[in-house]
């Protein structure tokens, strides 16, 4: 592993690259699929890094208008989609892949509902802009399956001589759950307006399996562990053994609710290269100390893109006095972003080479 602050060069044509960005408003990945073809997963906007995935591609002289062939939204979790509309708009030639729950009537009605005026942009507004772009492309004469595709388990997102990307979720049971959750969020007549919140569960997240000549990677999104085997990681494992992958983007920020031993045992190599993004809300932080300990036992070389714990600058002293004792876990949103770059080529025998940039760091002290 190396720290490569200024070492910015495009991957070679036969290398698979997973570049992970965050934690800003959301998180994002740029994935090199070989031969200069790219996929962008989710979106991230950061005060310190701008639009990291798009900016990174520009920096290594990749024209996202033509080189990005797929854009994937793993799930609709409000802030995780900030900037997604711009990614879709900029990547003119890409097919947009959305989890199938996002293409159902319940979600579309949610997106089309009258927006509540607020200065904090809701995810629904972001998706309304995405849909506007997709409709423009359809009206421009492009066929429906080139403009956008529905993702369920086993959907092939991309396939070429160099690589294959297949979705391992969501299962049909998880999609049903998500549709029901969206229905619960639908505005009702005569109820006071709210900024539409995100569903609390992530069972319909899109997990991706990326396989190239050198090795494989499991991109875990926010999929959680479930008791039943028709959804969550139990379902992914039940789809059959594959790989094993040498790299995992640890699901749901390393949180316990997404931990399933079967994922580690059956889909990954022993001591895989683990990549994480942190998450925080109020006083809650992921990964917490127990999560970190557990992940470091399984993946001692684990790395994290940054720490979501930037403290705000001090306000006027009278204001600070008022906040003291009232506000807990204050933190600035969207700061401290970093970039983890992992590459694997045919000669690497499935071992990923990892570079840490900006705020990215190792998670495990003994590594």
């Amino acid at each position: 592993m190396s720290s490569a602050g200024s070492e910015i060069e495009a991957p070679s044509p036969d290398e698979i690259e997973i570049s992970l960005f965050g934690p800003g408003f959301g998180e994002s990945m740029a994935v090199h699929l070989g031969d200069g073809r790219w996929m962008i997963v989710d979106s991230c906007v950061s005060p310190s890094m701008g639009r990291p995935a798009l900016d990174y591609l520009a920096e290594i002289n990749v024209d996202c208008r033509t080189a990005v062939v797929a854009v994937v939204a793993t799930h609709w979790h409000d802030d995780h989609v900030r900037g997604f509309a711009e990614v879709v708009s900029q990547c003119e030639g890409a097919t947009v892949f959305l989890g199938s729950a996002l293409q159902q009537h319940e979600f579309l009605t949610l997106v089309a509902s009258p927006p509540t005026t607020t200065r904090i942009p809701p995810g629904a507004r972001e998706f309304a802009a995405v849909i506007a772009t997709l409709r423009e492309r359809r009206n421009g004469g492009r066929s429906a399956d080139v403009v956008s595709r529905l993702v369920t388990e086993q959907t092939i997102v991309d396939e070429s001589a160099m690589s294959r990307v297949v979705a391992l979720s969501p299962s049909s049971a998880a999609v049903e759950d998500a549709i029901s959750a969206f229905a619960d969020l639908l505005p009702e007549p005569r109820r006071p307006q709210l900024r539409i919140p995100a569903p609390s569960k992530n069972a319909a997240s899109v997990v991706l399996w990326v396989e190239g000549a050198g090795g494989a990677a499991l991109l875990g999104a926010d999929l959680e562990a479930e008791h039943r085997n028709d959804r969550g990681w139990g379902r992914v494992v039940a789809l059959g053994e594959r790989g094993p992958a040498g790299l995992v983007k640890v699901p749901h920020h390393g949180g316990q609710t997404a931990h399933d031993e079967r994922m580690w045992d059956r889909l990954l190599r022993v001591r895989p290269q683990a990549l994480l993004t942190p998450w925080t809300l109020g006083g809650n932080l992921l990964p917490d100390e127990d999560d970190t300990r557990r992940i470091c036992e399984l993946a001692p070389e684990a790395v994290i893109v940054g720490r979501a714990s930037a403290s705000p600058k001090r306000l006027e002293s009278a204001v600070e006095r008022s906040l003291k004792g009232v506000a807990k876990g204050r933190r600035v949103v969207g700061h401290g972003a970093g970039h983890v770059r992992a590459r694997c080529g045919p000669a690497d025998s499935g071992n990923w080479r990892v570079d840490l940039m900006r705020s990215a760091e190792r998670m495990c002290s003994a590594a």
């Binding site: 159902q104 009206n139 956008s148 109820r191 006071p192 307006q193 009232v326 204050r330």
Partner: protein, 184 residues
């Protein structure tokens, strides 16, 4: 002192984001808070930054109780806001709730934090749920005519108009149209 034009523009942009029902109350630039007089740009009691006085009065506007001051009644206190935020509730727990805040007095980055439910009035507690929008002002309340000053923290939830049946029916139609057009 701030020039009137930018102040009016800012006031207009904020008012445009407010719900319709209170617009007539503030259309004339008066802020009818019972017992509280909003300060005019450049008045002696504005904050040290004279370029943002309108934010003070406009932010305060959103916290209005739904009453009007009797014509001719003298205000009994002034409010000197030091910091105002717009917030949205992210999560509600047993005794606390998590919020995201956008700075209305400057351009500080968005913050998240956890607040105690006991900071809310009973009336506002009823409105506390994920997605609810509120305004939070910290400042000095000055009693008139004595000038006695006290630091106050005011959280007020927005009482937005309800969605109408026709708005929601229209949303369903647009959803169907989108699904058809995109082949979903």
């Amino acid at each position: 002192m701030a020039s009137p034009a930018p102040a009016n523009d800012l006031r207009r942009s904020l008012i445009d984001e407010a719900e319709q029902p209170i617009r007539p109350m503030i259309a004339g630039g008066r802020v009818p808070i019972p017992g509280v007089r909003a300060m005019e740009p450049g008045s002696a009691e504005t904050t040290a930054d004279p370029t943002r006085p309108v934010v003070i009065s406009t932010a305060t506007v959103f916290n209005l109780p739904r009453q009007t001051e009797r014509r001719g009644e003298s205000p009994k206190a002034t409010l000197q806001p030091l910091q105002s935020w717009e917030g949205v509730v992210l999560e509600v727990r047993d005794t606390t709730f998590s919020v995201r805040l956008v700075d209305l007095t400057g351009d500080r980055p968005e913050e998240e934090m956890e607040l105690e439910k006991e900071e809310l009035s009973d009336f506002d507690l009823e409105l506390l749920e994920p997605g609810a929008i509120f305004y939070w002002t910290v400042g000095y309340r000055r009693q008139l005519p004595s000038g006695a000053r006290a630091r106050v923290s005011l959280i007020r939830f927005r009482r937005l108009p309800a969605w109408s049946r026709s708005e929601l029916a229209s949303a369903r139609d647009r959803a169907a149209e989108t699904a058809h057009e995109l082949g979903w």
